[in-house]
């Protein structure tokens, strides 16, 4: 058995990313607690981060001899920063909503209804 076949390839990373994303998606669709939804969104963002980094690593052709580029990593860092900001805003909103409604259940938040 060739060990190189066992080595962790791009598809493995993508699989992990996809699983993480699906879990996050499920959370967003199914959870009732708004905090949990926010956390699920974080999961999805992190899934994307994994994809970014993985693609950056594997798409770079080692034989081309050019310098290693960090576009994917930078993108991932960007996402992390934005996610942090988003969580800050999101949680602030959640707190105000909670103060108004005494609830974190999204089923009760239907003010956008027709």
């Amino acid at each position: 058995m060739n060990l190189s076949n066992l080595s962790v390839g791009l598809s493995t990373y993508l699989l992990v990313g996809a699983m993480l994303f699906s879990i996050g998606l499920y959370g967003v669709f199914a959870k009732r607690n708004i905090i949990a939804i926010l956390m699920s969104i974080e999961l999805m963002l992190n899934a994307v981060n994994i994809n970014f980094v993985a693609f950056n690593r594997f798409v770079w052709n080692q034989k081309s001899g050019t310098n290693y580029i960090l576009t994917g990593h930078v993108a991932a860092l960007f996402v992390i920063v934005v996610a942090a900001a988003e969580v800050a805003v999101g949680l602030a909103l959640v707190i105000t909503i909670y103060r108004n409604r005494q609830s974190t259940n999204v089923d009760e938040f239907n003010w956008l209804k027709w």
Partner: protein
């Protein structure tokens, strides 16, 4: 001689222009000053009368030359692609005669109105309308083409509308004015169509050019159905005169038009405007001659029928103005059938004499009404001759003239028409005309005997009218006596005014005294019968009525034609209008509102999809992205066919 006269004829446009100027002056400047308004108006019409007389003398002096070559002046009025219309004046014996008659009667009526309309609140308005009417009527007479004639034709209609409804606070006057306009409009519809077809076919509406074209290539006319093009056009053109001159189916407006002031009835609804139809047929006579004989036969039939129809109604009427109105209808029928049987000059002759004596009688009736304070029923009058000698005598002359008693004017013209009818092979029309002459003499003398002779009514205190009213009566009475002498000695009138088919020579004809005798006897019989019944009371009128109650009722109700039209207008037209309105509101608007309702309903249903739940939105969003991705990934080339512009052939 003709050359110098031609210079005079070039100024004919002044005849309508002067009253028009006076119309503008009264409308914009002098309307606040009553005296000034009437002065301006009368001066203008008198000046026109002077010019008209000058032109008439010029025509007589020019003699045969003007008969063959009319003096025509044309100025371009409208010139666009496919339509070129001139405005101009034509001076020939026909227009000369009309100019004289119209301006004479108009000036008499305006002078007469000084007395009759005295103290009326709408004095300036009255003279304003009178001036406009004179301008339009004189302009119509001078028209060189059909469109110009039509324009003035409609304008006299407008003046008639305004003057019938002069006392607009009276509901009856208002309704009569409306009726007059609408009824003549029906006729104008045909005239308008005829005009359009004429222009489409011949490319001109000019009378002289049209006549020349019709005279040269009469073979070229196309055939529509069984009737030739020209015949169809002749029938269409004739619809206009039927409306304007009150021929049978469209006669209903004229008796109602008597709601206007009496001088107006005399001017517009007896002497001038209503003969416009006869004038038009005379102007367009070439069209009728070149059409198939059925066209002229139709004119004759309609005319003869109207003559006897209206005369029979006149027998059973009690209102003095209505009797005169039906008599006018009957005489218009006379002129019309005269044209139909080919008595062109007879018709025009009768037009002239009728204008004199009918205007005279209307003004006489006005004088009576004025004296009796708006009483119009002849049975409320009686013995007026003694109290109002001038009115009585002049009215007597009028009655004699219309009854065809020599040497009064009506005798000559009526006799000529009847003689021509018989000679040109229309025995039935001749018989109808003769009987109508008898009826005419009968009802006119009935009116005269009842109103002017017999015992006086104690409740009436009549007095002779002022000079402003009696002088016009005397002048018109003078013309009613001597007007007919134009036919003497060997028919000078017909020498000037005749229609000749191309290539024939005019022959003077003397009066046929034999035929004339018959019609005189018919007239005298009528007068005699009326004398026996109404003056001698040898036969009681009541017993005749009692013997034929139905006939009397039908006659008194004018054969129920008005009721029939009213029924059509109210039930058929009104009904259709209501149905269509219903259709518009509930079907067309219903569809529109239905679409709006469907939109609103579907929106009401569809808005349930927006639950307000963030998670639902996210789910829909996600799966939509997945589907679009699938389409892009696996359905290559499918999207371009969804592009609507591609189907329009815009982009490739």
């Amino acid at each position: 001689m003709f050359k110098e006269m031609h210079d005079l004829f070039r100024w004919a446009w002044l005849i309508p222009a002067l009253p028009f100027l006076s119309f503008l002056l009264i409308a914009f400047v002098t309307k606040r000053s009553k005296g000034l308004s009437s002065t301006v108006s009368i001066l203008a019409i008198l000046a026109s009368l002077g010019l008209a007389i000058a032109i008439a003398i010029g025509i007589i002096q020019s003699g045969a030359e003007i008969v063959e070559h009319a003096a025509i002046v044309n100025v371009n009025w409208l010139n666009i692609g496919g339509l070129k219309i001139d405005f101009g004046t034509v001076v020939d014996p026909l227009s000369g005669m009309m100019l004289f008659v119209v301006s004479l009667v108009a000036s008499m009526v305006q002078i007469y109105s000084l007395g009759y309309m005295h103290g009326d609140k709408g004095w300036s308005r009255y003279y304003c309308y009178q001036s406009l009417f004179a301008a339009s009527m004189l302009g119509m007479v001078l028209a060189t083409n059909l469109l110009q004639l039509f324009i003035f034709w409609e304008l006299v209609g407008l003046c008639s509308y305004l003057l019938i409804g002069f006392w607009y606070f009276k509901v009856s006057a208002r309704e009569a004015a409306k009726k007059a306009f609408m009824t003549t409009r029906v006729g104008d519809f045909g005239l308008l169509l005829g005009m359009l077809f004429l222009y489409t076919k011949f490319g001109t509406l000019d009378f002289a050019t049209l006549a020349a074209i019709l005279n040269t290539n009469i073979q070229n006319v196309a055939v529509i159905g069984t009737a030739s093009y020209v015949t169809v056009m002749a029938f269409l053109v004739f619809m206009g005169p039927v409306g304007k001159s009150g021929q049978f189916p469209l006669h209903v407006w004229l008796p109602d038009a008597m709601e206007g002031p009496t001088p107006v009835s005399a001017l517009i609804h007896a002497a001038t405007m209503v003969v416009a139809g006869v004038y038009l047929v005379a102007r367009m006579y070439f069209l009728f001659v070149h059409a198939s004989p059925s066209a002229l036969q139709f004119v004759a039939d309609i005319g003869a029928f109207t003559a006897i129809f209206a005369a029979s109604i006149a027998i059973a009427q009690d209102d003095i103005k209505r009797i005169l109105a039906y008599s006018t209808l009957s005489q218009l029928g006379y002129m019309m059938f005269a044209l139909g049987v080919g008595s062109y000059s007879g018709s025009m002759f009768h037009l002239m004499t009728h204008a004199f004596f009918k205007a005279l009688m209307f003004l006489g009736a006005g004088s009576v009404i004025h004296a009796l304070h708006e009483k119009q029923n002849i049975w409320d009058m009686g013995g007026l001759w003694k109290k109002m000698p001038i009115t009585g005598w002049t009215f007597f002359i009028g009655v004699m003239a219309i009854s065809g008693v020599p040497p009064f004017a009506g005798f000559f013209s009526k006799d000529e028409i009847l003689a021509t009818a018989l000679q040109n092979g229309h025995p039935v029309v001749y018989a109808v005309g003769l009987f109508t002459a008898f009826l005419t003499a009968f009802y006119m003398s009935r009116l005269f005997f009842v109103a002017f002779c017999g015992p006086e009514k104690p409740e009436n205190h009549p007095h002779e009218s002022p000079w402003s009213m009696t002088i016009p009566l005397i002048i018109l009475a003078f013309f009613s006596v001597v007007g007919g002498w134009a036919a003497l000695p060997d028919h000078n009138f017909a020498f000037f005014l005749h229609y000749l088919p191309l290539g024939q020579e005019y022959e003077r004809e003397a009066i046929n005294w034999g035929l004339a005798g018959i019609s005189v006897i018919a007239g005298l019989l009528g007068i005699g019968l009326a004398y026996i019944i109404y003056l001698k009371k040898a036969i009681a009128a009541e017993s005749i009525v009692a013997r034929f109650p139905r006939v009397y009722k039908v006659l008194q109700n004018k054969y129920y034609v008005d009721e029939f039209y009213l029924w059509i207008i109210n039930n058929i037209m009104g009904g259709v209008a209501k149905v269509l309105y219903w259709f518009d509101i509930y079907v067309i608007d219903g569809i529109i509102n239905g679409i709006a309702f469907i939109t609103r309903g579907s929106a009401k249903t569809l808005r349930r999809t927006s639950t307000g739940q963030l998670q639902t939105y996210a789910m829909v969003f996600f799966f939509a992205v997945v589907i679009i991705f699938m389409v892009f990934a696996f359905g290559e080339g499918q999207l371009t066919s969804l592009n609507p512009l591609a189907t329009l052939g815009g982009v490739k």
